[in-house]
């Protein structure tokens, strides 16, 4: 492995907003600001692990009602048929739309679940010093940050269907209580990924004093 030193060990910190590398005294009591954009500088985000844990646990709690309650209610000629997220995927499979079913399944079930698991693995690695490949952990973090937004797919679909299928007694589609919970899950997991500081993954690596 090459010889690389961290900005922290050299008395510097890169701005979290504009990425400028600035001189930095490693003391939380002194407020230091980026000379270029004025954002407060931190060597590592303060309390990153605690904040990420808090957001993750809340997201996990919200994920339960999001899957148990109906996310939309279809009423056709007086019959109300509520459907959950999973029910929606099953319905798409019955229609033969396997591709779309896979997309919805990945976006609204697999992605939030894998995000929760992935971030928990990263947090545990940092807290107990679990020996995982730091490079792979960073790739996983980058993936988690990238795919998180795709979970909003179901919310958009429901909004569009509710606006379109609004034909009085003939057919109506309304959102269900799971929509709120699911929206919260998506936003909370996105915030959790943002408050997590990936530099913590590398802090205990060999070759970095």
């Amino acid at each position: 492995m090459m010889d690389v030193r961290s900005a922290r060990s050299l008395g510097m910190a890169s701005c979290s907003l504009c990425h400028k590398l600035c001189r930095f005294v490693d003391n939380d009591e002194i407020a230091q600001y980026c000379p270029r954009c004025g954002t407060r500088l931190y060597s590592r985000y303060p309390n990153s692990v605690v904040h990420t844990w808090a957001l993750l646990i809340t997201a996990a709690i919200c994920f339960l009602p999001a899957n148990l309650y109906p996310i939309m209610v279809v009423s056709q000629l007086g019959n109300d048929t509520p459907s959950t997220i999973f029910g929606g995927v099953v319905a798409l499979v019955h229609h033969g739309a396997y591709g779309i079913a896979a997309v919805v399944f990945i976006a609204s079930l697999a992605v939030p679940f894998l995000k929760l698991i992935g971030l928990v693995i990263l947090l545990i690695k940092i807290q107990i010093g679990w020996h995982l490949n730091a490079s792979q952990c960073t790739s996983m973090y980058r993936m988690i940050e990238f795919i998180g937004r795709w979970s909003m797919l179901d919310i958009f679909v429901i909004a569009l269907l509710a606006a379109l299928v609004n034909l009085g007694a003939v057919a109506r589609i309304e959102a269900g209580p799971a929509a709120t919970a699911f929206g919260l899950t998506v936003v909370l997991t996105m915030l959790a990924a943002m408050t997590f500081d990936p530099r913590l993954i590398w802090d205990k690596e060999v070759g970095d004093e």
Partner: protein
């Protein structure tokens, strides 16, 4: 506009302290905190962290003017995309169509104000504010007009990044069309074309924007020389071949003179 990607080993084989005594601008990877010396890369190339693979910086040709053109086009397309119907529906002689705003209002009217706010933010508000703030920043740079608010606006743009979800919305439109197919006949509205155009503009904007260069402009002004501009690979100098040729000519001329 093609963007080719290349790994740039910024500092891989330099020993400990020698590395940090070298001249040049330093930068730190914002995902693993490793410090490197910034090196020139060719236009349209990207530099990645050799340790963790994170994208460090890019070199984009003519970033201000190109991104400005794209964001202005995006802003113009925004209005038809939001106001014209995205998809229409015909069922039992009744027809209905939905715009982006109608989708937000439908959730709001059912009492899901938080979810409707989320949809409003991700599909309408954030993309619009993103394009507007970037346009204003780039116009200010092209006019060489610097105010504290230009920096604040670019900071604001950085904070919003990641919350605009136009591409996810487009897939959402596709999924809703498939869901409705057996219930009614679905047709595409004019707004969808404008929406796809706007989405393309935002994607091209991310490819043509070099945030580091914009920050340099905001810090030093557009007339300051941009550091680390790519150096041409071969510097035109007199080569050996040329010398040999000129010597031969000289000999020939000498021979002619002798005759």
């Amino acid at each position: 506009m093609s963007v080719s990607v290349k790994d740039v080993m910024v500092t891989s084989d330099i020993k400990q302290n020698a590395l940090y005594q070298e001249e040049g601008e330093w930068l730190a990877c914002h995902e693993c905190d490793a410090v490197f010396i910034k090196q020139a890369i060719d236009v349209r190339f990207d530099a990645y962290c050799p340790r963790c693979g994170c994208h460090l910086y890019a070199s984009r040709p003519d970033t201000v003017r190109r991104t400005l053109a794209l964001s202005l086009t995006g802003l113009i397309l925004f209005f038809p995309a939001v106001l014209l119907p995205i998809i229409g529906l015909d069922v039992l002689g009744m027809s209905n169509s939905a715009t982006l705003i109608a989708a937000v209002l439908a959730l709001f009217n059912e009492g899901y104000w938080w979810t409707s706010f989320l949809v409003l933010a991700c599909s309408i508000a954030v993309p619009f504010i993103e394009m507007l703030s970037l346009t204003l920043v780039l116009i200010a740079i092209s006019l060489d007009h610097y105010n504290p608010w230009v920096k604040s606006m670019f900071k604001f743009w950085h904070l919003l990044k990641g919350w605009g979800m136009l591409e996810v919305y487009l897939i959402g439109v596709l999924v809703s069309m498939v869901k409705l197919l057996d219930m009614a006949s679905v047709h595409i509205g004019l707004g969808l074309y404008a929406f796809i155009g706007m989405l393309l503009m935002t994607l091209l904007m991310t490819l043509s924007l070099d945030t580091e260069e914009v920050w340099e402009f905001l810090e030093h002004g557009i007339h300051a020389p941009v550091p680390y501009e790519a150096v041409p690979a071969s510097v035109p100098t007199a080569r050996e071949d040329d010398q040999v040729i000129t010597e031969r000519y000289a000999l020939k001329e000498e021979g002619l003179n002798k005759r």
